[in-house]
Symmetry: C2
Subunit: 268 residues, 2 copies
Amino acid sequence: MFSIMSTSTKKEKAEPVILVTNDDGITAPGIRNLVEAVKDLGKIVVVAPDKPQSGMGHAITIGQPLRLHAMHIFDGVEAWQCSGTPVDCVKLAVDKVLHRKPDLCLSGINHGANHSINVIYSGTMSAAVEAAIESIPSVGFSLLDYSIEADFSAARKYARLIVEKLLKGTPDRHMVLNVNIPSVPDELIKGISVCRQAYAKYEEDFIERNDPNGHKYYWLTGQFVNFDEGKDTDVWALEHNYVSVVPVQFDLTNYVLKDKLEKMWKPS
Amino acid sequence: MFSIMSTSTKKEKAEPVILVTNDDGITAPGIRNLVEAVKDLGKIVVVAPDKPQSGMGHAITIGQPLRLHAMHIFDGVEAWQCSGTPVDCVKLAVDKVLHRKPDLCLSGINHGANHSINVIYSGTMSAAVEAAIESIPSVGFSLLDYSIEADFSAARKYARLIVEKLLKGTPDRHMVLNVNIPSVPDELIKGISVCRQAYAKYEEDFIERNDPNGHKYYWLTGQFVNFDEGKDTDVWALEHNYVSVVPVQFDLTNYVLKDKLEKMWKPS
């Protein structure tokens, strides 16, 4: 954890600016719960998609312009809905809403898990990763409950706890945390566990149907399979009622394979 | 480099099945050049988007079904256009076209660079990463020329050379290579260089306009800035007329930060 958060000393620390976004859309209960959980910890500004953007990964909008509209849906909190993807929201927020880099970016609370390989498909996590690429420390929060009526109380508690921890310190400017919260009552949660990403994924099984004209179409479905027996993974932690925290990186270089290839493929 | 490619011995090796996809769409010159470059090296099957999907990252289609249509646009090569993203193409190809995992997945040749941080926004590279998640070794190819009339001759030569290398060996089933080819005549290319991903990115600068009703909209633009002075990066290699090869991983865990956090945030 290195310096970035503030050039002032701890005592003088100005009110931190916290950008909040998500991928379920600005009207989702998850983002409302996140805003309420951290509202008094800084100046909150919400820039979130105007429609659900689950599974959008790190998509950006190319070839068409973006819109921003002020929204008055969070009591006393500046909020904008954006016509783009979660990643677009972060880019636009920095350049056209905040006109500066916020001190922290929070994404979520997602309705549904973003552990294991899901991190790569997740709009919630991609928004957080985008922030870190732009030198803004960030956290994505996800609750293991897809329901619109999910109970966010434990998720709120841990989101606040983690944000408080980060604001007390000076997180690395490229820091991204992927936080998943088990869908159990707060009293059953054993605490926070720092983990690695499990190799667990959906095994696709497209469902084939015919439209009224007799043409086929396919629905993406799949079954979640955990291929990873490690006890240091996010999937393991969540199964054992821990809040999982996986630090995420955006340097995708596979250094192990790089070393092997360098030996095999000497510059020709 | 571990075993997977074939359970048979080298001499008995069956014709490899090679899935080809891209993000510029099935009618782009880049994919035609890729198919032509490797056509005689195996059984080629093309499943590619029916429209441009640049910048789609690892997006998948949720909430609406997908379509597949047979196309007769590559001489003697089975080809399908898909209504989804590049990642959808890979998933559908395995489950509904090939009904098996291909031996290799190739993506591209992209019209434009996918070096440095671009790997994370790129539909071309996300298709390749998706293949590797599904235990299919894969390579994404990109030419540093956005033009529809780009000269693909050097890119074709190196794509073929790399595919030949891989087919001779037994690449790890989770292998992904991000290959970028400089936009210079073949005789100026110095060879292949195995690199790491540079920390170089676009600095966003949205252009603000007003529509005829006086409402603002924003176009994403930006300037490419290289923050990385390393001589072992893809950006450096390309600037010095090497074909850059970056092995890519989909375990996004930041292990360095994980170690630090474990010390700071002991399970509570």
